[in-house]
Point group: C2
Chain length 193, copies 2
C-alpha cells in the first residue's frame, strides 16, 4: 500500500492569518491587495496578493495521438508562445468543465466526447491565488473556431511526443502547458492514455 | 531527424505592441501596470500586467533517489503546500544558478556537486512576466538550514516516485513543482537521471 502523506498537508504551526487587506488596484482581470498578515511566530508582515478568478486548460488529443496547441502572443513575456487551449473563468461560480469545453471549441474548433479532469495547479501561489483546472479531451470532432473579441491565436496539431520534446528542449515555457503535457505523457508511458 | 518547429515561435501577425504603461501599484515583490497595447489588427486595448523579478527552483535528488521537498503555507491559496525549494531573485542581474544554490542551502541545508538546468517556465504569462528557472541538484551533502526572516517552512525527503504520485493525485498543486518533478520523472523513465 502507498505511504500516507496526508499529514504533510496539515497547516499546524505554519498557518498565516490575514489581518487586514488594502485594495491597491481593481483591474480588468485581477485585483491587487497589500495585506497585513500574522505569521506563525505572532509577528506581523505586509504581503502583496493578486486575486484572479481562476482558469481552465485542456490537452486535446486526437485519434492519431496528436495534441492540439495554440500559438498566442504573450505580452508580459514579449513573444509568441505555444500553449494548450485555455481560458479564464468569467465569474466566481463559472462551471470549470463547461468553461473548458467552451474554450476548446472557441480556440480550436473542437468538441470532444470525453473530458477527463487532471486536477489543479496554482500558477504562483506565493502571491497569486489563480487556480487552473487541467483537462484531457479525447474523441475530438472539428468545426469552426470562435475567438473572443481582441483574441488573436492560431491552432495546430503535432504528435504528443514532439510537444513533450519541445517542453524538454525549452521551446514550450508556459507553466500550465508544461505541467499538463508532461502529465499526459506520463499517463501514456504508463499505458493509461 | 526531429521536425523543426521553430517557425511556430515566430511573432509575425500575432505581436502585440506596448503603447503606454500606467503604474498602479509598486509593491514589495511586484509592480502592477495598466498597459495600453496595440493588437495585431491595429486596435488598442488595456491590459493588466504584473511585473516580478523572476525566481529559481530546484529538484534536489539524494543518492537514494529521494527528492527533498518543503512544506510552506501559501497565503493566497489558504493552505500548506508541498513544493520543491525555490526563491525569488533579489535584483534584475541576480545570478540564477547562484541563487538556486543559495535557496537550496537556506531551505534544506543541502549543498550539491552538480546543478543541471532544466529550462524556464512562465508562471502565468497572460498577465505576469515572472520567469522561473528550474534546476536539478545531485550529489547532495546536508548541513544547517538558514531561513530568511519571516520565512516558515520545514523540509522532508520522499522517494521521487511517491512525489510524482502526489502530483498525479492532486496533492501537489504548485505549478513549478508539478512541471519540474514531472520533467525529472520523464528523465528517469528515459534512463537520463
Amino acid at each position: 500500500m502507498a505511504k500516507d502523506y496526508s499529514a504533510l498537508l496539515n497547516d499546524e504551526g505554519l498557518a498565516v492569518k490575514g489581518v487586514n487587506a488594502e485594495e491597491k488596484y481593481d483591474g480588468a482581470i485581477i485585483r491587487v491587495y497589500r495585506e497585513e498578515v500574522e505569521l506563525p511566530d505572532g509577528k506581523h508582515a505586509h504581503w502583496d496578493v493578486v486575486r484572479h478568478l481562476g482558469a481552465v486548460c485542456v490537452v486535446p488529443i486526437d485519434e492519431d495521438g496528436n495534441v492540439i496547441l495554440v500559438r498566442q502572443y504573450r505580452y508580459p513575456a514579449g513573444r509568441v508562445m505555444l500553449e494548450i487551449p485555455a481560458g479564464k473563468l468569467e465569474s466566481k461560480d463559472d462551471d470549470r468543465l463547461l468553461r473548458a469545453k467552451k474554450e476548446l471549441k472557441e480556440e480550436t474548433g473542437a468538441t470532444c466526447e470525453e473530458m477527463i479532469c487532471l486536477g489543479d495547479i496554482y500558477t504562483t501561489p506565493a502571491y497569486v491565488d489563480e487556480r487552473i483546472t487541467m483537462y484531457l479531451a479525447k474523441g475530438l470532432t472539428f468545426g469552426d473556431t470562435h475567438l473572443d473579441d481582441g483574441e488573436f491565436l492560431t491552432s495546430l496539431r503535432m504528435p504528443l511526443e514532439d510537444a513533450v520534446r519541445l517542453v524538454c528542449d525549452g521551446k514550450i515555457e508556459d507553466a500550465k502547458t508544461q505541467a499538463a503535457l508532461l502529465r499526459v505523457w506520463v499517463m501514456k508511458l504508463e499505458g493509461r492514455l
